[in-house]
């Protein structure tokens, strides 16, 4: 079977899930029996088939499972959002259409050879940093929960960090593709210690400083952790030096500790993380985390069922959507969701492994890593593995920026995959 036919077949579970999900909510609300759920299912299926056709014509050899897995996540998110707020679900569906357009545009623009991105690496890096600091700019910056993550230019509001993460991964892949040999070879000569050579120490230090600067500037541990983690992942894949990762993590932890002392907001997040039920703040700054935990506690093994729970948590459709999922689908549903992410990351890393050139490998590995880290940061925040910070659950949370950026991420992965698999076939 051709990869594309396999992809089409793999979309069946997603479309079934979305129909079943909508049906469950309709029935659960005891409304009049409505065929609207099937309409929703059909619309979603239409979007999926359209995307599939775009891939079939532009990237015939790309990995057949990446898109169905994303579709599964997307429809899962859509059902949960629908259950929370009907209007938002409709607007989220609109974002999926817009995401599909951007997805197609990305593929068409980079179809010939996505490696042109390498040439623009510094421009991309600069653009990404600009995006990241935009929320702190006067007039357009938006503060949410004392962190600076949003931008509003007139009616257009978006979360620049979602797009910046792509640019940073592209830049890091390009930069490390260029310097990996020197990093490996020179460092070996440096008295056998796994420190990078001095000459290249500067740029790496610069990335470290940038991450800490972000932590200080946009006051968000999550984004900062995500970017620096992606950097370490790409650095590790590029050099195969665990020492770099260890030193990097230690440096980040030390820096973060120092920065956190000076930013009360981060200190608050840590306080809440360590003790969310402290009577001093359980109704205040700890409310979100505490209610998220209570929602999870009510979920149990199998959950309360779609539409079955009461929503007390703030931001149930974005930051805390995972708490709602645990509540309504239980531990089983939540583990299923994490497994889908794990499969998606596996396909992404598989793409990285079969890619023929270093840039492709590093790009695919970086994109997969940043996706995995984002999932870890937000779910880890909700489950109190780490302090809670405001990032979205990719493809599931409500939000235009998140949907658009993640569709571009998918497009990039498919571009790498298509090329890698074609080359693998032709050289066989």
């Amino acid at each position: 079977m051709s990869p594309r036919n396999r992809e089409l077949l793999a979309l069946v579970p997603a479309s079934m899930l979305v129909t079943a999900g909508f049906a469950a909510i309709f029935i659960g609300r005891a409304d009049v029996v409505s065929d609207l759920s099937f309409t929703y299912g059909l619309i979603f299926l239409g979007i999926c088939v359209a995307t599939h056709i775009v891939i079939r014509f532009t990237l015939p050899d790309a990995d057949p499972y990446l898109f169905p897995l994303v579709a599964l996540l997307a429809c899962f998110g859509l059902v949960v959002i629908f259950r929370l707020d009907e209007d938002k679900a409709i607007s989220q569906a609109g974002w999926f259409v817009a995401g599909l357009v951007l997805f197609s545009a990305t593929i068409i623009a980079l179809r010939k050879d996505f490696r042109v991105l390498e040439q623009y690496r510094y421009l991309i890096a600069f653009g990404s940093l600009l995006l990241l600091v935009m929320p702190r700019m006067p007039l357009i910056g938006v503060e949410t929960n004392e962190a600076y993550l949003g931008v509003a230019i007139g009616p257009l509001a978006f979360q620049p960090a979602e797009f910046a993460k792509l640019g940073i991964v592209v830049f890091l892949a390009a930069y490390l593709r260029e310097h990996r040999d020197v990093l490996i070879l020179d460092s070996r000569r440096f008295l056998g210690i796994t420190f990078p050579p001095l000459k290249h120490f500067g740029p790496l230090l610069l990335i470290w400083v940038t991450a800490l600067f972000l932590l200080f500037f946009i006051r968000d541990i999550g984004s900062s952790l995500m970017f620096f983690g992606a950097f370490l992942a790409i650095l590790y894949v590029a050099t195969n030096r665990v020492g770099f990762v260890v030193v990097g993590m230690a440096a980040f932890a030390a820096g973060a500790f120092v920065v956190a002392q000076g930013v009360p907001h981060i200190q608050n997040r840590v306080d809440v993380w360590l003790d969310p039920f402290n009577p001093a703040w359980v109704e205040d700054k700890g409310f979100q985390v505490a209610q998220g935990m209570f929602a999870q506690a009510d979920g149990g093994l199998f959950g309360t069922g779609f539409g079955g729970s009461i929503i007390l948590t703030p931001l149930p459709d974005t930051d805390l959507i995972y708490a709602v999922i645990v509540n309504e689908l239980g531990l089983m549903g939540a583990c299923g969701l994490i497994l889908v992410y794990l499969l998606l990351v596996a396909r992404g890393l598989k793409t990285a492994m079969i890619a023929r050139d270093s840039f492709s490998t590093l790009l695919a590995a970086g994109l997969s890593a940043v996706l995995a880290l984002q999932v870890f940061v937000i779910i880890g925040g909700v489950t109190r593995v780490i302090p809670l910070t405001g990032v979205t659950l990719p493809f599931v949370s409500y939000g235009g920026s998140s949907v658009l950026a993640n569709f571009v991420l998918l497009a990039l992965l498919l571009l790498v995959s298509d090329r890698a698999r074609r080359e693998a076939v032709t050289t066989r």
């Binding site: 894949v237 935990m293 506690a297 149990g300 009461i310 590995a365 109190r384």
Partner: protein, 476 residues
């Protein structure tokens, strides 16, 4: 670069494993602890989203129902106001529940096993409670409440139950409270305050009072059933006989000669019954008290926390048996000394005697109907135990009929229906002449107990007429 990618994947697997581990911890292993957190108000809100069943009387009068509010939550309404406040109780998310609402909470919210819940939510059925039909008679309840309110102290309680089944027809307690206002700020605290005679308190089941001479029926049961006495046994009714070494006075200092037990009950002669009690002894008295249900929580369908045990209380309020050395058995036998009882317990005494000696478990729930109209529960009268022989019951019944015919209880007499009864006047403030006035009795269908709290009156005057009007409604 394959090796680092594989290791990277291993790291991701590890991290996601941590996420699953934490999720299982919070959602399953630590879930109970999280539910107990004071900041967790999910249960309370969840409860408000369930439509509790409706509570009705047999004639269809709605006592409690749930109404949906704009925010999709339900609120309990009590259309009859305070009339059924005590037995039915209340159910509000903010202050909890009491009475029948608390006892039948599972039925009223339709609580089911987790498996059934999962199935029902799959087929999309909303959790809904069963409707309850109760045994109370609205009109008799109203009559009792009005009569108690009209008394001098406007405080008291009345209980009436079906003689053969134990189905409770009246459970009235005055002062009452309107459950509709209970969750408003400050209301609950005020209703619980002693300064306002604690209207929240269900005097009929929760209250403990000295029974006075109504307790002589228990002593008489022991006297006749042991075979030590017959209704015609002659005992001296002299005034000032020493009981536990201290002279005991008859009401009004009246001195009787040798009289029969029947006459002694009709005239409620203290010295006779105290002597009988002393003669029978603490062991026997305790035996019969326990057969009647004293020293144990009444087996009625109300929350155990609202059902104190009737019996003899020591100085610290602890329950002691009649055989204990510190007990004045003679005075206990005439309902004085340290004896404290609930009107519900005394109604059971009357019910037992009237029912040929068989004590029935009192109950308030007649039937429960689920949302599909199926009967989920139908009351089946439960026999608690045989307290005395049928002969004893018949003989005592005749003695008690004499009380109403020509004794202290004539005010309870009904036309066309023969009433058996016993009055009681428990002195709670001797100097002020304040008594708890009692009447217990039965017809061939209904048993009743009425207690008027703290009045300058007597059982035959203050309580007997109320019993009469209740019996008139139920048996007329």
């Amino acid at each position: 670069m394959k090796t680092p990618i594989l290791k990277l994947y291993g790291t991701v697997v590890l991290l996601f494993g941590v996420l699953m581990g934490f999720t299982s911890y919070w959602s399953v292993f630590a879930a109970d602890g999280l539910r107990d957190q004071t900041a967790n108000r999910r249960d309370e809100l969840q409860e408000q989203r369930i439509k509790r069943g409706t509570i009705k009387t047999a004639d269809g009068t709605v006592i409690a129902r749930s109404r949906k509010r704009d925010d999709e939550t339900y609120r309990r309404q009590y259309p009859q106001g305070e009339l059924f406040g005590h037995p039915i109780g209340y159910a509000f998310a903010s202050i909890g529940s009491s009475g029948l609402e608390a006892f039948y909470d599972d039925r009223l919210v339709g609580r089911r096993t987790e498996l059934v819940t999962t199935f029902e939510s799959l087929i999309g059925r909303e959790q809904e409670g069963q409707d309850l039909e109760i045994t109370l008679d609205g009109e008799a309840q109203q009559i009792a409440t009005d009569a108690l309110k009209a008394t001098e102290s406007a405080k008291g309680a009345a209980v009436a139950m079906d003689l053969e089944t134990g189905a409770v027809r009246v459970m009235a307690s005055v002062p009452g409270f309107d459950p509709n206002d209970l969750d408003k700020p400050g209301v609950f605290g005020k209703l619980s305050s002693d300064d306002d005679d604690t209207p929240i308190f269900n005097r009929a089941a929760q209250g403990l009072f000295p029974p006075g001479s109504t307790f002589k029926t228990v002593t008489a049961t022991a006297a006749l059933d042991t075979g030590e006495y017959t209704p015609d046994t002659t005992v001296s009714g002299a005034n000032g006989k020493p009981i536990s070494g201290v002279p005991l006075q008859n009401a009004g200092g009246a001195d009787f000669g040798p009289i029969t037990l029947t006459e002694a009950l009709t005239g409620s002669v203290n010295t006779v019954w105290a002597e009988v009690g002393e003669d029978l002894g603490g062991e026997t008295m305790n035996e019969y008290m326990e057969r009647f249900g004293f020293n144990a929580a009444p087996p009625i369908d109300l929350p155990a926390s609202q059902l104190p045990r009737s019996g003899i209380r020591d100085g610290k309020g602890k329950l002691i048996e009649a055989s204990a050395a510190s007990v004045d058995v003679g005075r206990t036998a005439i309902g004085q000394a340290a004896l404290l009882v609930s009107p519900l317990q005394m109604a059971t005494v009357a019910q037992t005697i009237g029912n040929g000696g068989v004590r029935m478990e009192p109950y308030l729930l007649e039937a429960a109907v689920d949302t599909d109209g199926r009967t989920a529960f139908k009351a089946e009268p439960e026999r608690a135990e045989r307290v005395m022989s049928e002969e004893t019951a018949a003989a005592l019944g005749e003695m008690m009929r004499n009380v109403v015919r020509e004794g202290t209880g004539t005010a309870a007499a009904l036309e066309g229906v023969e009433v058996a009864g016993k009055t009681g006047t428990a002195e709670v403030d001797v100097a002020g002449g304040i008594n708890d006035a009692w009447f217990i009795g039965f017809t061939d269908r209904t048993a009743v107990a009425v207690m008027v709290e703290r009045v300058a009156s007597q059982g035959g005057i203050a309580a007997a007429p109320i019993a009469k009007s209740i019996l008139e409604r139920l048996d007329g």
